[in-house]
Symmetry: none
Subunit: 266 residues, 2 copies
C-alpha cells in the first residue's frame, strides 16, 4: 500500500477514514450491526480477522438495515498481523486494563487521535476483540494505544456493535479543525508489515543469542519489546535504520574479532 503523506490531504481526496477491524467475530448479526453503526457515523471500511462462521453470511446483511457497503467490501484476514499490515496507527479497543505499557485513551481522546492522524494522511484503525474472548495480549502489542470506553465499573458489558457505536460516534463528532500535532514531520510512518519485519529481525537475532530465557518467558518478553518499540512510531526510514542497527550489532562482533586477530564466533 503506498503511504499517503500530508501532501495528499491538500488535494481533492478527503483524508482516509479509520478502518474498523473485528478480531474473530462470532455472530454474523453482530457484524451486520457493526456495519450499521459504522454507516451512521460515516465509516465504511471493515476488516474481519478469521470470522468464526466464515464470510460472507446472509445474517450480517439482515442486521445491517441497509448498510450494505461495509459488508460488501469487507476484507477477510487470517491474523491481526495481516489485518494491520498496511496500517500506520491502530488503537486496541478493550475494556480490561492490560499489563502492556501502552497509552490508555478514552474513546474521545482516541477519536481525536485518529482524526488528527487521518488529517496527516495516516492509515488508521480501531481493533475490536471477539464478543466474549476480547483481544489477545499479543495482538494488543501490535497496536499503538488502548482505547477504553468509560463505563460503570459495576456493570461492564457493552456488546460489540455498541462499543463500535461509541467510538465511531466520537470520531464523527470530533472537531474537524483539530490542529495536527506532527511528531514526525513529512516522513512516512512505517506500517504494520514493516514493523513486523523489524520485530522479527530483532527477535530472530535475540533468539540466536539466547536472550529469551527462560523459554517460557519468551512470549511476554517479545510482547514487551514490541510494545516499547511500537510506541516510538518509527518512520519508514527509521525502521530501515533500526534494522541496520540490529545487523551492525550482530555483525559487529565479527569485525571486532577479526580486527583483534581472533576467529569470529559462528
Amino acid at each position: 500500500m503506498p503511504v499517503q503523506t500530508r501532501a495528499m490531504s491538500a488535494e481533492a481526496a478527503p483524508p482516509p477514514k479509520p478502518v474498523v477491524i473485528l478480531d474473530r467475530p462470532q455472530l454474523a448479526e453482530n457484524i451486520g450491526a457493526v456495519a450499521r453503526a459504522m454507516a451512521n457515523f460515516g465509516l465504511s471500511e471493515l476488516r474481519l480477522v478469521s470470522p468464526r462462521d466464515g464470510w460472507p453470511q446472509d445474517r450480517a446483511w439482515a442486521s445491517a438495515s441497509g448498510a450494505d457497503w461495509p459488508l460488501r467490501d469487507a476484507k477477510v484476514f487470517e491474523t491481526v498481523g495481516d489485518a494491520v499490515a498496511d496500517l500506520q496507527l491502530v488503537y486496541a479497543c478493550t475494556a480490561r486494563p492490560r499489563e502492556t505499557h501502552l497509552p490508555v485513551l478514552t474513546s474521545r481522546e482516541g477519536a481525536g487521535g485518529l482524526r488528527v492522524a487521518g488529517a496527516e494522511g495516516l492509515r488508521c484503525a480501531w481493533l475490536f476483540g471477539a464478543e466474549r474472548a476480547g483481544l489477545e495480549t499479543m495482538d494488543i502489542a501490535l497496536c499503538h494505544a488502548i482505547v477504553t470506553i468509560p463505563i460503570d465499573p459495576k456493570f461492564h458489558s457493552l456488546n460489540l456493535a455498541q462499543a463500535v457505536v461509541v467510538n465511531a460516534y466520537e470520531w464523527w463528532t470530533s472537531a474537524p479543525d483539530l490542529v495536527p500535532a506532527r511528531l514526525t514531520g513529512e516522513a512516512a510512518i512505517a506500517d504494520g508489515a514493516m514493523m513486523m519485519g523489524v520485530y522479527e529481525h530483532l527477535e530472530g537475532e535475540l533468539d540466536h543469542a539466547g536472550f529469551f530465557f527462560p523459554p517460557e518467558k519468551k512470549p511476554s518478553m517479545q510482547r514487551n519489546l514490541r510494545v516499547a518499540l511500537g510506541r516510538a512510531r518509527f518512520t519508514e526510514q527509521e525502521a530501515r535504520t533500526f534494522r541496520g542497527v540490529i545487523t551492525a550489532l550482530v555483525r559487529g562482533r565479527g569485525r571486532t574479532f577479526a580486527r583483534l586477530g581472533g576467529d569470529p564466533p559462528s
Copy 2:
C-alpha cells in the same frame, strides 16, 4: 479501579439520575438491549409507554446480558403524559427536526443539561420513540428540548438501543471525575540520564561495528537514532531491557552457548 463521581463520594444521597422512557417499544429484545446499555453507563430507571407486546417479556431478559434490574423495576404507563407526570425536565430524542419550537441540542449538550439539572435535584428523563414510528409531535410537545445525535446524513439508521448508548454514554462521561486512571502512569518513565545511558551504550557498540559511516555523518545519525528511540518514552524497566537487548545482540550466540556448555548453532 472503582470510578466514583464527585457527587457520589462527597454525599450520602447521590443526585437523581435521568430516567429512560421508551414510547411504544415494539421488540422485547430491544427493551433488553436498552437495559444493557443503561447499566453500562450507570442508569437504572426505565419506563415503558404501552409496550406493543405487553410487559414483562422473557426475551427482554435474554437480551439484557444480566442487566436485570432496569427490567425488573421498569414501570409501565399508558401515555407519555403519564410517564412524564412526576418529571421536571424531559428531552425528546429524535433524529428528525420537528416543527416544534423547542431548543435542539446535540447528545453532548443534552447530557450536560441533564447532568446540571440532576445536580440541582431535578427529576429528568430522555424520551425515545418507537423503533420505526419515532415520536408523535404531541408527545414531543411535553418535552423541554430535542436531543439529536449527530449522524451522517447519508445514512441515518441507529437502532433504539444504539441511540440510548450514545446518550447514556454522554451522560456518564459528563461527570467531572470520570477520567480513567492512566495505566502507564503506574510505571516510572526513564529519565534523561537513564536514556542517555541507553544511547551511549548503543552508540558505543555501533561505533565498534563501524556503523557510523562516513564519519562526518555520525552526529546526524546519532541524533536521528536518539529521536526515534526517545519517542517511545521507555519506562525504566524497558530501558534496562533494551540495554540487555544491545548486550545480547553484541555477544551473540557464541558466548551464550559457551556459557551454557552447548555448541553454538551454525
